[in-house]
C-alpha cells in the first residue's frame, strides 16, 4: 500500500470519489424522501465515475488520458440519466396516487395498498 499515491492529483480525485460514494450511500439509507434517494444514487454514481476517471488519469496523466474509461464513463452518465428519469416519473406517480413521497418502511402487499388508496 502506498499512501503517497493518495496525494497525487489522480489520488486526490480518487479519494474524493470514494468519499462521495460514502456520502451517497449514507443519504440513500437515511433519507426517506424519494427525490433525495434519487439524488443519493446519482451521487454514488458520480463518485464511481470520478474514481474510475482518476484511475484512468493515472495511466496517462494530462489532457487526453486513457480514452477507454472516458468512453465508459460517458456511457455510464447517460445510463444514470435514464434511470433517474424513470425513478423520477415513478416518484411523481406515487405522489399523485398516494400523496406519499417516501417508501413505506417495510415492503407490503401491493394488493393491500390498492384497497387503501
Amino acid at each position: 500500500m502506498s499512501v503517497d499515491s493518495l496525494f497525487t492529483q489522480p489520488g486526490l480525485y480518487g479519494v474524493t470519489g470514494a468519499l462521495a460514494i460514502g456520502i451517497g450511500v449514507y443519504g440513500l439509507i437515511v433519507r426517506p424522501h424519494l427525490v433525495r434517494k434519487i439524488i443519493a444514487v446519482n451521487m454514488v454514481g458520480s463518485g464511481v465515475f470520478l474514481l474510475f476517471g482518476a484511475v484512468a488519469d493515472r495511466a496517462a496523466p494530462g489532457p487526453g488520458g486513457d480514452p477507454v474509461p472516458h468512453a465508459m464513463i460517458i456511457t455510464g452518465i447517460v445510463v444514470a440519466l435514464s434511470a433517474t428519469a424513470l425513478a423520477a416519473t415513478l416518484t411523481l406517480r406515487l405522489s399523485r396516487e398516494t400523496g406519499r413521497t417516501a417508501l413505506p418502511p417495510e415492503p407490503e402487499d401491493p394488493a393491500v395498498q390498492d384497497k387503501e388508496s
Binding site: 474524493t16 449514507y26 439524488i39 477507454v68 433517474t84 416519473t89 400523496g99
Partner: protein, 330 residues
Amino acid sequence: MTAFPLLDPALCFVILTTAVLAVAIRTVFAAVVSFIVFGLLMAIAWVRLGAVDVALTEAAIGAGLTGVLLLSTVARIAKHRADRGDDVPILEGPEPDPAPTDPLPGLATQSLAIVLSAAVAAALVAAVALLPVPAPGLVAEVGSRLSETGVESPVTAVLLAYRGYDTLLEIVVLLFALLGVWSLTADARWGGQPGLRHLARPDGVMAYLGRLLPPIGLLVGVYLFWIGGYRPGGAFQAGTVLAAVWLLAVMAGLVPIPKVSGIRLRLALVIGPAVFLAIGLAGYPLHGAFLGYPPAIAKVLIILIEAGLTISIATILGLLVAGAPEERPS
C-alpha cells in the same frame, strides 16, 4: 498545475461540501440545487483530469438534464400537494423533509448507515492506495489502431468503433427509460401529449428567446456532432443541446409537443439504434463480424451512425424531460 497547487484540493473540498449539502440540507429543493452545483463542479473536475468529453457530458447530462428532471419533479410534487390541499407553496416554499407523513429512520438504521458508508469509503480509499504504480491502461492500443476507425478523437473511436456495442446498448437503455416513463401514463391519456405545458406569453421574453435561440442551438448541435470525430463532442452532447433547444421552443409555444403515438415521433425514436443495428449487421458481410467496419468506409459509417443517434438522442432526451403524457388524445 504547479501554478496553483491548492486548486485541486480546493475543488475536491468544494465538491464534497456540496455533496454533504445535497444529503444534509433541510429542504428537498435545496438538495436538488446542491446536487446541480455538485454536478457542475464535477464537470470542472473532469477538465482537471483531462477528460473534456466527460466534462461536457457531465455538464450537459449529469448536472443539466438530471437537474432539470429533478427540479421539475420537485415542482410537480409540490403541485400535487397543493392540489390535495396540503397547503405548500410552489417551489420556493421550504418543503419539509421528511414530510409529515414520511417516516424517519431509527437510531439503529442511522448508525448502521454511518458504519456502512464509512466502511465502503474506507475500503475504496484503501483500494485507490493499492492501485499498482506503473498504471496499466489501453492508451497505446487505442492509439495504434486509430487509423482503422477513420476518426481522430480517441474517445469517439472507443465509443463508436472499439466499444460500439456498449454504445448500441446504451442508446437502447435510453430508449427503454423513455418507454418506462411512458408506461406510467394513465390509460385514458395514452396517445396524448406529454405533460410539458408552455408557460410563455406570446409577447414574453420566453417567446423571444424561443425564437432567437433555436437557430443558434441547432448550429451548436450540428457543430458538436460534426466535431466529435476530431475533438471532444459527439452524438450525446449534440443530442442534449438539440433536445434543450427543442424543449425551449416547446415551452415558448412555438412548436407543439408531439403526441406519443405519432408515427414520425416513433420513427425519430428508433432511427438511431436502427441505423446502428443495420450497419452492425452489414458488418457481417463487409468485415466478417458484427459491427465490423471496413477501414476504407469506416468514417462514413460512423458519421451515419452518429447522425441517426443524434436525432434519436435529442428526441428521447426531450421527451424524458417532458414526462409521461398528461393530455388526453383529442
